[in-house]
Amino acid sequence: MDLTDKEYVERCRDGHQEDFRVLVDRYQKPLFAYLAGRLRDGRQVEEAAQESFVRAFLSLKKLRKPESFYSWLLGIAGRVAKEQLRSLKHRQQDCEVTESIMANVADSREDYPLEEAIAALSETYRQVILLRYYEGLSCQEIATRLDLPLGTVTKTLSRAYTLLRQELAARESAEPTVNQTELP
């Protein structure tokens, strides 16, 4: 069974820096979707996503709540996106994204609070949402991956929907923000 975000963060801090790979793998897609909602160009999105992960890695020791890694990561990404929008000259290194991905993401660009709402979920619910929709696993596959009964997965997913909708409703009347309390 996979370790939690908190455990991976702590392992990275202890020198197992290759474990950061798991966190990148776990959050690269929602982070990309989140940034695609803020930036127009595919290269900018990929660069911002890479930059966000790298800054997060270099600042891991400053993260006070390791269990909030994803929320904290989105905060970093929000600031990186703002910097990019301010900058006329964008670095374009190691970018391999295709425009086709961007075209698809752009279709749902206005929905970026969704990623913030997902970040606000506790890890149990967030994990099921990410596996179901960003990794494309069926509920049965999630049950197998997490070694849980199918009914538990279904109930968790159902509860995650409720919490997501509450979170989105709360954000409708507020400026879209993410956890800004822990600056990298």
Partner: protein, 446 residues
């Protein structure tokens, strides 16, 4: 089904997880209850958003680029301290290639970050684990051309198997083989056969390494590899990294990564064409329990990104090797490479040629099938297969010669048209023979 039961099952309904009877009950309730229909519509809308997000980002793959940047950021050069400067100089003057592993560890611990020191320790233990090798057998895959030099690498080529057998005791013997070439040292002499050209080259003495096989011998001689890698890492500022990996069977590996720099400028012709001319990332994986080296991966830093060019996936330690492996069986009609070029009656005519003139004269001789003339620019006979290909060729153009920092000769760009209509544009590598002063074809031709 009442409203409470319906709402409890709505997500399962949207996800298609209800059985047929439950689904029908849910649908029946939705048809009669506007409030639950609204709830159902909201959940469906959210699900569509989530599905769209997942589909849109299905091809996103940031792990490798991020980890490359993480590695780069993590090992940005530190400010040089007085101590590290002193140690660097002491290394250069006080410690030679015979420095003990213990001394290396000491220096590395003092002059590199904690992780680099841990990487050094892992490699040193790996060296100690194989300190008493009697034999080693390596088998891997290399991006190369089958008939080309043993150290030739090409990121655009496919993978070809390359294999080494080496006996350290009681007497050094070795054999290295790839599909188009094989070289063997039987304790008396060293012979290479270029299978495609049916050409054999003999060094009439035992060698530790020959015919561009040094890079693979270095890997096989692991203790020396460590000494050299660490010496280079410290002297040249190469970066060492250490990570842990867990295999599918639960075993853990210690993975040491070394960022090696060739020192060649990016615009050098031979940059990234041979191992010693390439900027590479070398990844050594050690078994955590036995401390033995289990695998090696070498990535080349190309403009398009890092690319795996060599993967060593089989290492057999101290297994008996059949003595026949070290005896090379040559075809009866094999032609031999001349170790010495002979003076010609009109040698000065050829010795005074520029590299461009020699290239033109050589190709024109091949074109008119004057093999005797052509062989004045070669150290081997023109074999029958080559004669069939090059006879009748026409020289389209000869360019201006250029050099590479790591090659003691010149490269001459050429364009020729073969009698079958094929046009070949490439660079002929020419070396000048020390005794006769004549240019000879060292590759890139036929």
């Amino acid at each position: 089904m009442n409203c409470a039961e319906c709402r409890e099952n709505l997500v399962a309904c949207v996800e298609g997880l209800l059985d047929r009877e439950e689904s029908l009950q849910c649908q029946a309730h939705l048809e009669t209850c506007a409030a639950c229909r609204t709830e159902h519509a909201a959940i469906t809308r959210l699900q569509r958003q989530l599905v769209a997000r997942g589909q849109a980002t299905a091809e996103v793959s940031l792990v490798e680029p991020v980890m490359r940047r993480v590695h780069r950021e993590q090992f940005k050069p530190e400010r040089e301290t007085i101590m590290s400067t002193i140690l660097k100089h002491r290394w250069g003057f006080g410690l030679g290639a015979t420095a003990s592993a213990a001394a290396i560890i000491l220096i590395a611990l003092l002059s590199t970050p904690k992780i680099q020191a841990a990487a050094v320790e892992v490699m040193t233990k790996g060296a100690q684990a194989v300190a008493k090798l009697t034999t080693i057998h390596l088998r891997g895959q290399l991006r190369t051309e089958p008939q080309d030099n043993f150290s030739y690498i090409n990121p655009d080529s496919g993978f070809y198997t390359i294999e080494l057998w080496k006996q350290f005791e009681p007497e050094l013997k070795w054999r290295i083989e790839k599909p188009g070439r094989v070289a063997a040292m039987d304790g008396q002499s060293t012979v290479m056969l270029i299978k495609t050209a049916n050409l054999a080259v003999k060094v009439p003495k035992p060698t530790k390494s020959a015919f561009d096989t040094d890079w693979l011998h270095k890997i096989a001689n692991l203790s020396n590899t460590i000494t050299n890698e660490l010496k280079n890492a410290i002297a040249k500022g190469w970066k060492l990294n250490l990570a842990e990996e867990r295999a599918a069977d639960g075993r853990t590996k210690k993975v040491v990564t070394i960022e090696a720099k060739s020192g060649l400028p990016d615009n050098d012709y031979l940059k990234n064409s041979f191992f010693d001319n390439a900027d590479t990332r070398r990844v050594y994986a050690f078994n955590d329990q036995t401390e033995l080296l289990e695998s090696v991966k070498i990535y080349i830093h190309a403009a398009s990104g890092d690319k795996l060019i060599f993967e060593l996936d089989q290492i057999d330690y101290n297994q008996p090797i059949d003595p026949a492996v070290f005896q090379l069986k040559l075809p009866a009609n094999v032609s031999w490479f001349q170790n010495e070029m002979q003076m010609l009656p009109d040698n000065e005519k050829y010795a005074s040629m520029t590299a461009e003139q020699a290239t033109r004269a050589y190709f024109e001789a091949l074109g008119r099938q004057d093999w005797t003339e052509a062989e004045k620019f070669r150290r081997s006979m023109v074999d029958d297969q080559t004669k069939q290909i090059v006879g009748g060729l026409e020289v389209v153009s000869i360019g201006t010669a250029f050099t590479s920092k790591n090659y003691p000769g010149q490269f001459v760009p050429y364009e020729i048209k073969l009698k079958n209509g094929d046009v070949i544009k490439h660079n002929l590598a020419l070396k000048k023979d020390g005794k006769t002063g004549r240019w000879w074809d060292d590759g890139g031709g036929f």
